[in-house]
Symmetry: C2
Subunit: 573 residues, 2 copies
Amino acid sequence: MHNTPFFTIWRVNMRTRTCRREPVPKDWGRLGGRALIARILVDEVEVTCDPLGPENKLIFAPGLLVGHMLSSCDRISIGGKSPLTGGVKEANAGGRTGYQMAALGIKALIVEDLPETPGLWAIRLSSEGAQFLPADDLAGVGVYQSAAKLLERHGDHVAIALIGPGGEAGMLAAGIQNLDKDAAPSRMAARGGLGALMGSKGLKAIIFDGDTGSKPPLFDRKAFELARKDYNKALLAHPQTSAYRDYSTVAMTSLTNAYAALPTRNFSSGQFEGAETLTGEHFRSLMLGRGKSCDPSHACMPGCIIQSSNVFTTADGDTTVSPIEYETVGMMGANLGIADLDEVARLNYQVNDIGLDSIEIGAALGVAAEAGLMEFGDAARALELVGEIRAGTPLGRILGNGAAAIGREYGVERVPVAKGQAMSAYDPRAIKGTGVTYATSPQGGDHTAGLTIRANIDHLRVEGQVELSRSAQFKMAGYDSLGACIFAGFGVSLNMGVIPALLAARYGWEVEEDFLVDLGKECIRLEREFNRNAGFTPADDRIPAWMTCEPLPPHNSVFDVPEEELDGIFSDL
Amino acid sequence: MHNTPFFTIWRVNMRTRTCRREPVPKDWGRLGGRALIARILVDEVEVTCDPLGPENKLIFAPGLLVGHMLSSCDRISIGGKSPLTGGVKEANAGGRTGYQMAALGIKALIVEDLPETPGLWAIRLSSEGAQFLPADDLAGVGVYQSAAKLLERHGDHVAIALIGPGGEAGMLAAGIQNLDKDAAPSRMAARGGLGALMGSKGLKAIIFDGDTGSKPPLFDRKAFELARKDYNKALLAHPQTSAYRDYSTVAMTSLTNAYAALPTRNFSSGQFEGAETLTGEHFRSLMLGRGKSCDPSHACMPGCIIQSSNVFTTADGDTTVSPIEYETVGMMGANLGIADLDEVARLNYQVNDIGLDSIEIGAALGVAAEAGLMEFGDAARALELVGEIRAGTPLGRILGNGAAAIGREYGVERVPVAKGQAMSAYDPRAIKGTGVTYATSPQGGDHTAGLTIRANIDHLRVEGQVELSRSAQFKMAGYDSLGACIFAGFGVSLNMGVIPALLAARYGWEVEEDFLVDLGKECIRLEREFNRNAGFTPADDRIPAWMTCEPLPPHNSVFDVPEEELDGIFSDL
């Protein structure tokens, strides 16, 4: 234990361009990541505020286990009142940011207020405090080039969180990108429009110089290393770990297509006739054939032994994205009727460079096709539409605001959103537990809030889905508060003792195995409190009506989990 | 009393193209107009339905006093679940529709379901029933030309309710136009996107051939004529009546400018330096100077003795609108920084012809100027933007969806809406009672739901505004259920006995003087029930946050009626 606490709250004010360090309030100490964000939002943010106005706050909070290169446990949670959903929002990412924030002793970074005059800023945070640096020269500059320039200025070792032109323009599908271990700006806290929130604060980038700090203290170093070993052993023991190393998350295509849950042509079918060329196997064979420009087994964070990420370069060598995720393949591939991974990669690259969520934009383009603005399968037209987003044309603005926006402005009913946020590449009519998650998660349509596809259950049956989603949501909220990747859960599930062991060694806490779920419960309780105060009601905890009556081929299933069951999912919180 | 009831419910199904006449359910008999619409919505419409889907219903219901050419008492209420607000919606209009529906014995016309194949239809209703007529030749045709063609086909005597290209395209600012006594398609049930609802049903026009029917029965003809005399006397005795005859509603400009409540340049000031040329006096002098092409004292319904309407022709003789209303002058004049009535008339004509609500589009253009899409005062650019709406470009679609849409897609906070619907030309920071109405009316931002500007109260003070709005809202809901124009209230207020007398003579009902308010209360109770079930909460009963902190020059007032008072306004219902 230390006399001066290592961790403090860093409060940046964009109006006064000052940074204040404060002790961690007592209530916040045992929270981290997503749960801490929920707590701060409930404590400090006026729920009815304009998400892009001065009262909203942009919060960065590393999870409780961040800072020691525990495999897949250095994630950064970013949050605020969502410009997209109007409710609570946390989105997390791998890469360097969490680790370097922890090294600086930042329990949470809270960005407040708005600049008085227009202009774009970067903030450099080091052990000395904050430097506010004009960044007008980066206005409108894409994420890849912006990151390169910032790295030149600040050195290759820093962590950077930054936005693209989409966030600067306040587009509601904009996310916040973070450097990965190789300094590529590829790890996006994508969902819910947090990039627009960062843009509203006149903030292009935050540079974290973790080298000026030090590793966070450990309560018992020896015990920590022992616990790390047990944790790694469990991680490696899980069969799924190696599948992700070989095939990345793209491994998922075969599974969703088999379950008929692969969104195809704006969620009009659950199976795609072109799925074969979107599978992990095909993906891997392409990469192996293309040699050095590709890497099928790439780690996003230093120390990660799962290495689910990848580096993918198109056949013509023009475009490299790192990584292509399954969700992008689903939403910008099958969902747009596109069966060519190179085309998906080109779309992905552009969307990354504008700084937008590829799930939300994939869904928006699907709705645009439904509205007659493109033909399904026409990748060139899809790229043109992404060009409209970059140009900020009226149509581009609508698309950059996401799937709900294009549906609203063009009067399309078949819009795959929950709480205004696009669902991911798992059709809720075929994986009903995940549908329950989409409907009831305080975050809106979001598979990472509680994916159920790996559960040993008939995914088409109604029975048991609410309980399954509830349990998945608590666990995921727990992992998101620890800073642990979804894949960490595979390992932890084999040895539930590792989390108490790690927390005991790190903080000296005595917690039981149910700590993870309790943390998740507290997180969701707070998030629901925020949403309720913001005006959300049970009517918002729904899958869109058309999915409850339009059968999904080939099983012709509908989303039929009864509303009373949805309403009861968190009734004990 | 009659053995076969004169009035029935007409139920039109757009899928089967059939019309069924049914007895009036017992609960519905004593309701009419707006209250009957609320009752039908609560009884029959799934609150969570897509407003443009098959489950929503489009309802036409004449008020209880409609059918006997009582001055300003033949209004038609039109309603459904609002495509704009997502809540309950009733909008009413003068003209011929109400009267001819009553002559056909239609207590309410309920249009259900959707056609199975694309296509546009007109329905002709006569005592024989319904004829379904293809109207594809009118697709995309403006309201003025469509009305002319329909009159040619069906005779000059019919009533017509129709939509323009905006409603066909599902734009959320689209209204439903009705012929006035001179067969001009000028009386719009404008608010809340009912034109989009009609368009979603593949319905271009409804033709009512009232000549095939007969006057509705009177319980006591002699008593009715006596009551009518008392009513007319009261109407004429009120000093306001003659002001409206001379200056139309444009009389209001001087008053709102004096109160500093005239929305100027997107509600950034309450007084407009160009207000002089937007006043009723200037308006009248222009019209008198232009001779026969103008008419300052025009009745919208046969038998109306108030004649608040007008016919206005621009100096070049090119454009005639009938009428120009104050709200259009405020929202498309001062609110856009435009001081020229001819320019306002040109904008008004185009918006009428597309079939859109001029209040909503005026507000949308104000927000567009805020977003940098036009300069305030640039009428030519404003006309261009209206041209984009007609062309259905992406920007046109956004604007055609109203003020909230353009604010949302362009990230503008200064959007003057309540429940997603544009406020009218009374700034709620200067006329706070009307602000309470905007915030708490189940209809959304709507001055006709309870305008308080004529009350003898300090409009800038907080005290008394909630009570004032409450009482105005009950009365207006009552008038809207009787089919009475807002101006009928001036007369009725001088002799509260006329309503019971008229109802006794017409139906044999024995009601007290508080019948009007009780009817209004029941109406609002039902409307709130619908909204609550649709997911509305107290957080929706608000003026936008920026109006609670941004001072309105020159008084620098903000909207500061406490939220608890807003929440308590209908606590007894």
